[in-house]
């Protein structure tokens, strides 16, 4: 069977699961709304189907809850999940190492540092829809990545090992600086801690409208380099021998994945494990071919974060749990189970 067909089948299946989960997720929450009503409300958004829905059967309050509160959050969680899992696949491929995650070259520490400065020192609010914290986090993430990238670039070539080490070192320094700042602003510490734990509580359509196009463009463009990523897994030298423009491809993918991760982190804080585990799980299911793994992981990342976030906002209602805690507490045991069960993969 051709790679294209397999990929299509896989992605369609995952998308079907995702749509089903979206309906379920939209129906749960503080206000009880039935699955059927939820489905009808959502169908009324879809062009061509909206005529089929009898608007009289929809409660206007439920309509607002779903369209203005739950759906933006669901949409945002899906796209943050897509972003994290896509960046995870790319970083794992680039580093030829299944332990890499979207934060491996310092995106998270940079974002946290930026967010801390934004939270504690900047009083004005940001431009429409985006908080100043998100903007500072994005700048912190991008600046860190840029620095790490340039440290690892020696005579025009990127050394993967140096990249990793520089990322770890710079992350450590930035974390220390974040802590240092907090010493002087102890009463604001909780804000920073909550931001770092990650969450989608401040979701809105405005936020989504900024995030979604950026994520779509970056994720789709990167998708055209997945065969290169396959060959790169044989090592830079071998890949070059087989005709891959290794340095160019590495630079493109590194920049893309860093941007994807930075955008996601700035919107949602540091949500751990989605970007690490989703590619792993999908690799166990669809195999290592990045042309299938990447799109499948992207959709699956959306699923994972949607489910996690739905649990985050419903499990201890009305209290919210930071979604990062859910992804780790639920995701890791599940992943370990798969790891032990599957003897095939020898990491």
């Amino acid at each position: 069977m051709g790679t294209g067909k397999r990929t299509l089948k896989c992605v369609i299946l995952l998308l079907a699961i995702l749509i089903l989960l979206v309906i379920i997720a939209a129906s749960v929450g503080a206000a009880k709304i039935s699955l059927k009503e939820t489905a009808l409300i959502m169908l009324s958004f879809v062009p061509g189907f909206n005529n089929l829905v009898d608007s009289a059967s929809i409660d206007s309050q439920n309509f607002v809850i779903i369209s203005q509160i739950r759906l933006p959050r669901i949409a945002l969680s899906i796209f943050v999940g897509i972003a994290l899992a896509s960046a995870g696949v790319i970083f794992q491929g680039l580093f030829r190492n299944p332990m890499a995650d979207p934060y491996v070259i310092g995106v998270s520490a940079g974002a946290a540092f930026g967010a801390t400065i934004g939270l504690l020192f900047v009083k004005n609010s940001g431009p429409a829809g985006i908080s100043i914290t998100a903007l500072f986090a994005l700048c912190g993430a991008l600046a860190t990545t840029f620095l790490v990238y340039n440290i690892a670039k020696i005579r025009g070539k990127i050394s993967v090992v140096t990249l990793l080490l520089a990322g770890i070192a710079l992350s450590a320094m930035l974390s220390a600086m974040t802590s240092f700042i907090m010493i002087f602003r102890v009463h604001d510490m909780a804000k920073v801690v909550f931001w770092v734990m990650g969450g989608l509580t401040s979701a809105s359509w405005a936020k989504f409208n900024i995030l979604a196009p950026v994520v779509i463009i970056l994720v789709v463009v990167s998708g055209f380099f997945m065969r290169d990523l396959n060959v790169l897994s044989l090592g830079d030298e071998r890949a070059a021998q087989l005709g891959v423009e290794t340095e160019r491809v590495k630079k493109i993918l590194l920049v893309m994945a860093s941007l994807i991760a930075a955008v996601a982190v700035s919107m949602s804080g540091i949500i751990g494990f989605v970007g690490l585990i989703t590619p792993h799980i999908l690799r166990l299911i669809v195999g290592p071919d990045h042309r299938i793994l990447y799109p499948a992981s992207a959709v699956a990342g959306g699923i994972v974060l949607l489910v996690s976030d739905t649990m985050a906002r419903t499990v201890l209602m009305p209290r919210e749990i930071p979604v990062g805690i859910i992804t780790s507490i639920i995701g890791v045991p599940f992943f370990l189970y798969l790891l032990v069960k599957s003897k095939r993969e020898a990491f």
Binding site: G4, G93, F224, N230, E237, A240, V244, G287, R291
Partner: protein, 428 residues
């Protein structure tokens, strides 16, 4: 079948390359013609792999020009270079667990558009490549589950899927057992013969290289020491100069191809020299030869630094080959002919100017009986004569008793008798 070899498929002009500021290759020049099998030889670290990496476009930033099929590879993309030259590496470690078919298909990377999946042609070529390397039945297996030899077959199939006219072999069999070395060498040679692939190889095993190549490029300290036909390049002195090792260069008796065989002599290594008595360099030793009996003695004495000569030996005798390879003087007689008076005379001249005469376990017949007479003569001249009496003379006498008689006389008249060649050293 093989075309006429007159077109240069690879030409390297004034190639120099440095890692950081360390010069690795300096002013390399050579040509390879279409359909040739060429080996690049030289000690570790001389820049052989660097050369392969430069030709395959993996390394950049060199001086000079590399042309494949008349195209300057500096102006080509990695993809285009990969269509011209494929590399078989020493070993490959995929980071993820791809199937055999997926790995082989990676060989088609350079032919596949970024926006499309591989087509039927790619699948056909991959199948053909897998058939040639006999891995069709492994197609769905995971690469990580295969044995070393199977893995290397997969990689060769990957390179064949590249469809390049030039194959660069970077020590492709150095991790494998001898059966795989032979298998892969045969595969490469048949690709050369049947598909006119040009093969440029680095081999860990010098004999593997010279027995299967038409041309050798010998590198020393980042430069071409010598290049050309195997016989022109592989000599005792060139190996000594490039590798610093003492070797025999002989011909394989079966294939008549050259082979190189190291000379192991502990005395040659500095740290073990003290185990032996100090060397009397001026001492001249003449060894009676015949039927290969003298070879170990000649080698031993020569490696200890004595002035060795040998005689009388028939041309084609193993002893004459040994003497020739070691470059020591000898007295030769026409093949399968009895020793002439003239040769005996020359032999006696050698004996006269020697300090010691050694008689190894030579077999005696009517043709070479005069060699034994020469030994008797040496005793009469009061030379020190050492007889190696390893095998009883009665069994070596094909003259009907004459040799036994004279042999006894040699011993009775004062020759030293030893049981093995090592003991000779005690009497020198």
């Amino acid at each position: 079948m093989k075309e006429k070899k007159d077109k240069n498929i690879l030409s390297v002009r004034n190639l120099s390359f440095s890692y950081n500021s360390r010069k690795v290759l300096e002013n390399i020049n050579f040509d390879v013609k279409e359909g040739e099998v060429v080996s690049i030889l030289g000690p570790n670290g001389v820049g052989k792999s660097t050369l392969v990496n430069l030709i395959s476009g993996v390394l950049e930033g060199y001086e000079g020009v590399i042309e494949i099929e008349g195209k300057d590879i500096r102006k080509l993309s990695s993809e285009d270079i990969a269509k011209l030259a494929g590399v078989v590496p020493q070993s490959t470690y995929p980071a993820f667990d791809f199937t055999v078919h997926e790995i082989v298909m990676m060989g088609r990377h350079t032919y596949t558009s970024r926006f499309k999946a591989e087509g039927k042609e790619d699948f056909d070529i991959v199948n053909e490549a897998m058939e040639k390397t006999k891995i069709l039945q492994l197609s769905k297996r995971r690469f990580s589950e295969l044995s070393g030899g199977e893995k290397q077959r997969v990689i060769v199939a990957q390179v064949l899927a590249q469809n390049s006219p030039v194959l660069l072999l970077d020590e492709p069999t150095s991790h494998l057992d001898i059966n795989f070395q032979i298998e892969f060498m045969n595969l490469f040679l048949s690709l050369n013969k049947n598909e006119n692939k040009t093969i440029i190889g680095i081999f860990h095993d010098i004999n593997l290289a010279i027995q299967n190549s038409e041309k050798i490029i010998l590198l020393k300290e980042g430069r071409v020491f010598n290049s050309g036909r195997v016989e022109e390049v592989i000599t005792r002195s060139s190996i000594k100069s490039v590798f610093g090792s003492d070797v025999f260069v002989g011909r394989n008796p079966v294939t008549r191809k050259l082979y190189v065989s190291p000379i192991f002599s502990p005395a040659n290594s500095d740290n073990m020299g003290n185990l032996y008595p100090p060397l009397k360099k001026s001492l001249k030793v003449h060894v009676i030869g015949g039927g290969g009996a003298a070879s170990p003695v000649i080698n031993l004495l020569h490696s200890r630094g004595y002035n060795v000569s040998c005689g009388v030996i028939n041309t084609l005798d193993t002893d004459i080959e040994t003497a020739g390879m070691l470059g020591i003087p000898y007295v030769a007689e026409a093949p399968f002919s009895p020793i002439s008076l003239n040769s005996q005379e020359k032999n006696l001249q050698f004996i006269k100017s020697s300090d010691v005469v050694v008689l190894p376990g030579v077999e005696f017949g009517p043709g070479n009986f005069s060699n034994l007479e020469s030994v008797m003569e040496a005793v009469r001249m009061n030379k020190k004569v050492i007889v190696i009496d390893e095998k009883e003379i009665g069994l070596r006498d094909h003259t009907g008793g004459k040799a036994v008689e004279l042999y006894r006389k040699v011993i009775e008249n004062g020759a030293v008798v030893v049981k093995s060649e090592d003991e000779i050293l005690n009497y020198l």
